[in-house]
Symmetry: D3
Subunit: 304 residues, 6 copies
Amino acid sequence: GELERLTRRYTSEISILIGPERDIPAPDVGTNPQIMAWIMDTYSMMNGYSVPAVVTGKPIEIGGSKGRFGATGRGCVISAQLAAKHLGINSKHLGINEKETVAIQGFGNVGMISANLLAEEGCLVKAVSDSKGGVYNPKGLDISSLVTHKKETGSVVGFENAETITNAELLGLRCDLLVPAALEGQINEANARSIRARIIVEGANGPTTPEANEILCDNGIFIVPDILANSGGVVVSYLEWVQSKKGFFWDEGEVNDYLQKVMTSAFAEVLRISRAEEVDMRSAAHMLAVKRVADAMAIRGIYP
Amino acid sequence: GELERLTRRYTSEISILIGPERDIPAPDVGTNPQIMAWIMDTYSMMNGYSVPAVVTGKPIEIGGSKGRFGATGRGCVISAQLAAKHLGINSKHLGINEKETVAIQGFGNVGMISANLLAEEGCLVKAVSDSKGGVYNPKGLDISSLVTHKKETGSVVGFENAETITNAELLGLRCDLLVPAALEGQINEANARSIRARIIVEGANGPTTPEANEILCDNGIFIVPDILANSGGVVVSYLEWVQSKKGFFWDEGEVNDYLQKVMTSAFAEVLRISRAEEVDMRSAAHMLAVKRVADAMAIRGIYP
Amino acid sequence: GELERLTRRYTSEISILIGPERDIPAPDVGTNPQIMAWIMDTYSMMNGYSVPAVVTGKPIEIGGSKGRFGATGRGCVISAQLAAKHLGINSKHLGINEKETVAIQGFGNVGMISANLLAEEGCLVKAVSDSKGGVYNPKGLDISSLVTHKKETGSVVGFENAETITNAELLGLRCDLLVPAALEGQINEANARSIRARIIVEGANGPTTPEANEILCDNGIFIVPDILANSGGVVVSYLEWVQSKKGFFWDEGEVNDYLQKVMTSAFAEVLRISRAEEVDMRSAAHMLAVKRVADAMAIRGIYP
Amino acid sequence: GELERLTRRYTSEISILIGPERDIPAPDVGTNPQIMAWIMDTYSMMNGYSVPAVVTGKPIEIGGSKGRFGATGRGCVISAQLAAKHLGINSKHLGINEKETVAIQGFGNVGMISANLLAEEGCLVKAVSDSKGGVYNPKGLDISSLVTHKKETGSVVGFENAETITNAELLGLRCDLLVPAALEGQINEANARSIRARIIVEGANGPTTPEANEILCDNGIFIVPDILANSGGVVVSYLEWVQSKKGFFWDEGEVNDYLQKVMTSAFAEVLRISRAEEVDMRSAAHMLAVKRVADAMAIRGIYP
Amino acid sequence: GELERLTRRYTSEISILIGPERDIPAPDVGTNPQIMAWIMDTYSMMNGYSVPAVVTGKPIEIGGSKGRFGATGRGCVISAQLAAKHLGINSKHLGINEKETVAIQGFGNVGMISANLLAEEGCLVKAVSDSKGGVYNPKGLDISSLVTHKKETGSVVGFENAETITNAELLGLRCDLLVPAALEGQINEANARSIRARIIVEGANGPTTPEANEILCDNGIFIVPDILANSGGVVVSYLEWVQSKKGFFWDEGEVNDYLQKVMTSAFAEVLRISRAEEVDMRSAAHMLAVKRVADAMAIRGIYP
Amino acid sequence: GELERLTRRYTSEISILIGPERDIPAPDVGTNPQIMAWIMDTYSMMNGYSVPAVVTGKPIEIGGSKGRFGATGRGCVISAQLAAKHLGINSKHLGINEKETVAIQGFGNVGMISANLLAEEGCLVKAVSDSKGGVYNPKGLDISSLVTHKKETGSVVGFENAETITNAELLGLRCDLLVPAALEGQINEANARSIRARIIVEGANGPTTPEANEILCDNGIFIVPDILANSGGVVVSYLEWVQSKKGFFWDEGEVNDYLQKVMTSAFAEVLRISRAEEVDMRSAAHMLAVKRVADAMAIRGIYP
């Protein structure tokens, strides 16, 4: 009904601004693959032929990319592995040590997929939380059972074979790896000093306030900033555009390999700048991003 | 002469309906690569630059795909191998057993290439026929000599070191594999009960009538239906379009690998539906095809 | 200033003639990557979106291809290896024998990169020259030091641990491989008879006059003609266009692999014609080139 | 509801075939100005800006032409005047003579407007009919009252101050002018000999059968054939297209003047051919039409 | 410099929003014909050919319309004449009567041209003011001398053969016609009751506040509202677009005649609504404007 | 045959340079209306719809302008009338005086039509010549008979009721009006001093050499230069473009009226400059032409 009509009218209004070579809408808060499909269909009908490359985040049935659904979570795991390797930790054994934990705050798309992939890799995910609370098992949670529990009950809370834990307690656990994958500003001036993680991989957008960031850095915690850590979704959106444009589609393995390759290269480059400029990873990532745009603009020139 | 002028005029009339993003003509009965080249050239001259992706089936010299010529036959052989594997037969040894035969009805593009590829794989192709009659050698026919004989005499009939056999006799042979690659309706109510093949791979379009199909299924014969078995040509037409669009061309090995991959995946999916829905492969293939179109339409919606 | 304004005006005037599907400017004498960037930016601003595929030779930051800078030199080395293999020489050991030399005339982009790659392969580059003179070391020059020397002093002359040699002397050395990578007409009727190379790989355009060519052929010297030997730059320009068009970029290894593959195939085909038609490589290359264009034209037809 | 949705979908499907420079739909049986408006709006929304010239017969509010509603009737009256003048009758006084009548069969858009305009010119319209029957007043009908009567009762029948008359009687009246403006085939072999008109102006399409035509011609009746007589609507459709295309609109007087000019010129040319070739007006009109198309085709040539 | 560069860059950014069939920029406060010329030139160079219809208000040398400069003033005079005629005043003699005045507030483009044209018509313009003050001559001011004086001194103040008068006094004069052609809000609650004009023609935008409007209406003053009175400039902008689009240009007389025709028709229609709905001219004009847009939208429908 | 194929191929090659908004070919030496029709048809078929405005000089049947055939000659006559009026001669009576002549050199399209129109106006054309010689009748030649004679015999020579005269003698006649409408350079240093015309209207391109021009000016002869005098054809080509673009066609009277208006205005402006700058008409015309282009360029600016 109305949502479809509204989407189609809106698409018609912005149709001169979007296009495979112009702006390419991707889903964000409040939109989903079905809405992207309507945008694509409306734009296509206006052109008289299918133009799948005009949006990303489409359902696979009409030209979406395999591997896109889990891309952000997968990117977080890749980031964690690269950070671990950098710190000399065997990334296959994150959380294995008795005294250390892998803790994930948030159990939506990003948190759930991160937990799953980490568990598949052999890591022990010992603590997980969502908006209703958290669960903790020092021997590692059974993630696939937990996913089922979450789907059935709407929350991780109440999962058997696990202790209850608050979000605040989760953040304060002694960790190999902490993945804040819930809301903004969860790690802030009030709790930053209590955090005992070795690595933080920011699965959410802006989970750490600037003040907290300073404290964490002073405490020697290695942070993979959101702009890098959760970029997997954007990377695969780009791949979806490439595939739609050429009308040729990759299988999931190829998508994941490319994601691995791009994130590894980006991590390395940010790390290089971080060392060369003696700044933290967040500043280095921003420096790299600004430099790339600035370089391209300087080379192209301002015209007219 | 006239055929060229007619083709160019016709292209000019349909030029608003065709295009790399619209309908893309491919050769069928009565057209050949030269005609596709004229269509492409006419369309290109109207646009002011070369548009190779407007047709498929072009000669390789102007952007056609390697591997397209033999693609339908190669697809039949892949289908046969997958069917054999499914039935627990070593696909490398089809027809090797003394009492079993590989029989191919029709020795045009599809039949000839199928025979060749099967022979290269180590199978014994013991019986082959064309519109003038058939030949049979219980020790396996020498396919490359037979191809030469066909080219010189216009028929397989009269090939030395082989017995004469009628089309009807060929269809009734005890077979590992029967490939009807001639005309429509060759396997019908009249002869279906006499067929003793374990696998039928439909190289032709519609070689089996609906009545015959029922009889064959009842007799436990495994049929790879035409829509799946002879789709190799269409698959490579699609690859030709992809290559033309991006202006980058694959070598023959890459084309064949992709064909193998696509057909293997399609075979598996049809087989899965066949089992899940307890229907034969033909019905399963149709169910899959209709479902894909229906899913895409439901997701896109009807607009306006 | 003026060069940019002139480039942009010129681009505006030719804008109806160029385009990703029309003519695609590439840099030549007097143009450089910055100028290509301005052309690309002007054309893009006129269209309202970025059109990187309208030129090649762009800086990598705005869509240029990795591996393009060294492509011509790399192509020369590939040609040399293929020629050596054809003549039964172990291409890894060109110049290793005491009495034989690898000599390179010219130490610009092509000569320098050829020298470097040959040295990396284990060959001994014993003589190199530029417009100011040459250097010679019978034990092989240290190419990376020589490159540094050239960058610091503007010439290879004066390089320590090497004897001084004239250009004329360099051309007359007993060689496994001679790479003329300087100006046109360096090998001419006057000096052709003095040349003692087994293989000549023409890195420059037209380094050998027709008269000299005849003499060299009579003397059994195997020449890889410029049209083949120095085509690496054009090949990678083509790859840059492919990458820009699909918006997906290759790493340097992929570019180099493709270059190797294309040059190997072209060398083989030219060699095949050379033998079949009993002509030298240069004539064979021209015959192949003309045939390809003629075949395409015959198939497409003349229309209107 | 559905009619609008159907119209918009249909427009979307034919959108590559229509356009201000291609085919331009105009209303015919079963379509009306509202439907033309939907076609125009759908096409315009697909293009992103208003394209009023894509249809004719639009409502005036969105770019229709003034004077289009009455154009066919007005064209009939102009034809009648030209025919009268040709026969030496004072066209202002058609039907004035006691023994002569102006009779109009059909009182829809064409018949009603013709009657009105003739009355305004001073002619006496003495007989009018519609599908339910006719009315007759030898002193002339009061047309504006009759229009009111028709609008109120749905028929001319029952109009006061007039005698009742059948359609058959109307056709058989002694007439200066008979305007058949109802259905096809009203004047046929059965009644043609009874017709006593001096001039017939065919307001309907095909009101006269070929057999009747021959009889009428033999009896010296001057017929303005439908292709000429009722072309007023098409002429003003053309004017609507011209106005829509340039975005500049005429007032009703300008439209009517142009209509007068075009019909006068067409009448004269058909008359000239009729005399030169000694054929009736109908044949002359066809000869002129065919000649114009043939001349244009011969000059342009057949290409490709 | 910078203004030109800024204009061209801005044009480039909005180029997908403007166009002869889309939005068409026209000059307003802060822009002038030169700027419109730059917009037109930039847009044209981006398209590769001249597109004069993309803007209006261009200099005549490059496709502007004759008569555009004076169109707003001329429209005011036409409005005044129509209002006078409606009130039974001989519009040729406005201000002629000893006790009555024509007063014009503001002596910019609109005021000056209105004064000139009124004087040419035989009216006595007795009072004129600008931002520095006013002048008054009960026998009528010599407008062409006053124009010269204004051009030389920058103000009407100090004009010989005239008394000095304040803006407030000017507004309070007994008038046949008052033309407020200066700033917004000049006639407001504070001074409305002092106004003794019979006709007010709003040459400025919004010279009368809503409160003042009510007072004036109560006092029986006939107001031609700004939306109607000063629409001459917009009307001729439309004509400029029409001329640019068809590449055919009108002379000044034709432009002025069309302006006269359009304003006369608009005035009459507003007056008709004013009477029918028993509202003032301002409300009637708004009702007409809203109705036209609403009618067009209702007919076209909302789609998608 | 070949001319058509050549024209169509050529059109295809230049198709990106021509167009209704770009360059618009018009016929010149060696081309004729049929060739323009082929260009128009080829371009139209490439676009998929008719584009009559892409050329001028088309046959009227496919969108050419009425009045174009005679436009150059008519323009010459208008020029002559304006020149006469300027000199105080009654233009209706050119050549009427016993001692004065109207002489026309050349009897092709321009000369013949000029003669005809002058005769229709009541002037006495006493001398006419073509490439084979001239004829002279002091009482005025019967132009319509002369046209018939020319068509029958291919020359004016031999016309009865006229004396034979050489081209040289014709140029030397005492004249009101001399129209050189033949080849370039006919009036040169050798014969300029012998010319006794009061007015020269240059129907040909460049009939007067620069040296002759100076002599004629010194002798007080009033010359209407070619750029002005024979511009009638170009003016009507422009009108043909306007008509083709809007799809609305003028009758011959409208075309001629516009031609009269444009030439009158141009003559007046050139004359004004001639007086203001104290130069001859030729210099004034060039000054006007250069100024118009320069003004437009200055206003638009140079961009990019």
